[in-house]
Amino acid sequence: MVNPVLLIAVPLGLTFAVPLFGLISKKIIKFFPIAAFLFNLIISLLLIPTALESPVIVKIGGFPPPFCINLVAGPVGVLFSTIIALAGFLVAIYSLVYIKEGPQEKYHILYLLLLTGATGVVMTGDIFNLFVFFEILCISSYALVAYMGDRSGIESAVKYLIQGALGSSLLLIGIGLLYGLFGSLNMADLANQIQSTSSNFVFIPLFLIVTGLGVEAAIFPLNAWLPDAHSSAPSSISAILSGIAIEVGLYAVVRIIFTVFGITNFYIFFVFLGVLTLLIGEMSAFSQNNIKRMLAYSSIGQIGFIVFAIAIATSDAVTGGLFQMISHTLSKGLLFLAAGYMIIRSGSMEISSLEGMGKRMPLTSLAFTIGAFSLVGLPPFVGFPSKLLIIKSALAKEEILFTLLIGIALLATVIEGTYFFRVIQVIYFKEEKEGSNRQDAPAAALIPMFLFMILIIVIGIYPKIVTGILNSAASEFLNKMDYIRSVLL
């Protein structure tokens, strides 16, 4: 059996090997992230069959669970670590040619740290350990947003850092209060004690923790940093921030609300918050002229849709929400990667400067189009089955409220379709300007885009590949007793 500790230990070890090997040769360090996440991808895929039978619990230090930090590689953890490793691997290949300026060694170190932190957040079963990994993720993403060192990058990084640090402090206060109340940091043990307590005092740490994590998860109204940060970062980092970082934040929120606190009468609040986030994100995206800001606002919308789906809290709806996360990672990753080279070739982030891209960069334009179609939810791409599942599960509630809300969500999808088709129209049906650069993206950037495209189409046509693990992951979120039992016994 493979040990899930390797998922964290190997990338972390390689991170600190980067400066050492950088002394010998500057060329090999580029391949460290690729090696690390290829390894993580293989380990995660090997762990899936074991984790589906019963969660793998790793007791670090050998003490039995409430007393030490433990890793829980259940269906949810393995699902997320697979997504993280997959996106990390593909974007690392893209970075080989995309990152040409700036301190490259530091880029690779921070990139490895960011994704190690993300893997740690989804694997850990200890709430303080979750905070530590979360801070690794956040601090490296603050630094990566400022990687280019230009005016907008520094400004967005400062705003992101101030808001993120405030959120982390709230999270830590919440954890401190929880420890004071229950004398434990193990999430399963906390969940066990919280369900037998009658004290209303647990709402204060709940509020603090959810607010703190909500900053990184970009839930409205805590998402003011997101459009600046995602549009000023290098495109490879935007793909990771949009596809991985906010979803890991959302995972933490869902884990805290569903498993640790299990406060079911709060879900309806998140249903409304999700729809509100969706509408605000899509409407702001509609009025953008800058392509990366448009994609960033669209991420806010997608996060809102996922929050809405998960907060419905039926088995199908949570499955749909997790499926939507996969589809968002694949589609938005592809969109940012394609947009990255379009911006380099046209020299501007304005949508109007993309005129005639369909002739100038046919392959990159194809990638962008497929990503956009998938995000909007057209068949046969992956966005279609995931959105369909969410809509079906919301209608299955047979309540007038949910039917109304799904109507609003569909309206938001129409808005999303409108602005994406506007971009696609500019790309394909506008004449190119005289003397423009006709060179397509280099091969090392096209390969990850094609792999993303293949995954989008294959999972879109055969959604059965992922439904097995998605169903187990949804039931891990919904049956907190199983989670508690598997960790504590």
């Binding site: 060192g149 005016r151 400004e155 850092l161 101030i162 405030l166 402090s169 830590l172 401190g176």
Partner: protein
């Protein structure tokens, strides 16, 4: 309430009052000031308050370290070591956020010549 009552009340809660006082001072500075350096100072005060809160959760007045070297020591007089380990980690994290924030402040000043975030508004919703 007479004086001994107040003293015994304060003995139990003075650390929490201090910790939450620092947290609120830090929060107010971060929300009300627009100068980046002052916001970073506020963040640091907030961090200190959180650390004090964590320490006071496990603190026992006149307690000792939980080392079983002396058989006469009882469990009730031992200070909980877990929050102290947490605070060590939290201090390290706080220092790294502070270092990153200050270096970003230097770069921001190079680009804009001001540190007032109200005057730096190139990015808009």
């Amino acid at each position: 309430m007479n004086i001994p009552h107040i003293i015994s009340f304060l003995q139990g809660t003075i650390y929490y009052i201090g910790a939450f006082g620092l947290i609120f001072i830090g929060l107010l500075i971060m929300l009300l000031k627009s100068n980046l350096i002052k916001m970073i100072i506020g963040l640091n005060i907030l961090d200190t308050g959180v650390n004090l809160l964590l320490i006071s959760v496990g603190y026992i007045s006149k307690g000792t370290a939980p080392v079983f070297s002396n058989p006469a020591l009882e469990n009730q007089t031992m200070v909980d070591p877990v929050p102290q380990a947490l605070v060590l980690t939290a201090i390290v994290i706080g220092v790294s956020v502070l270092a990153l924030a200050l270096s970003l402040a230097i770069r921001l000043y190079h680009h804009y010549g001001v540190l007032d975030l109200r005057e730096i508004r190139e990015q808009r919703w």
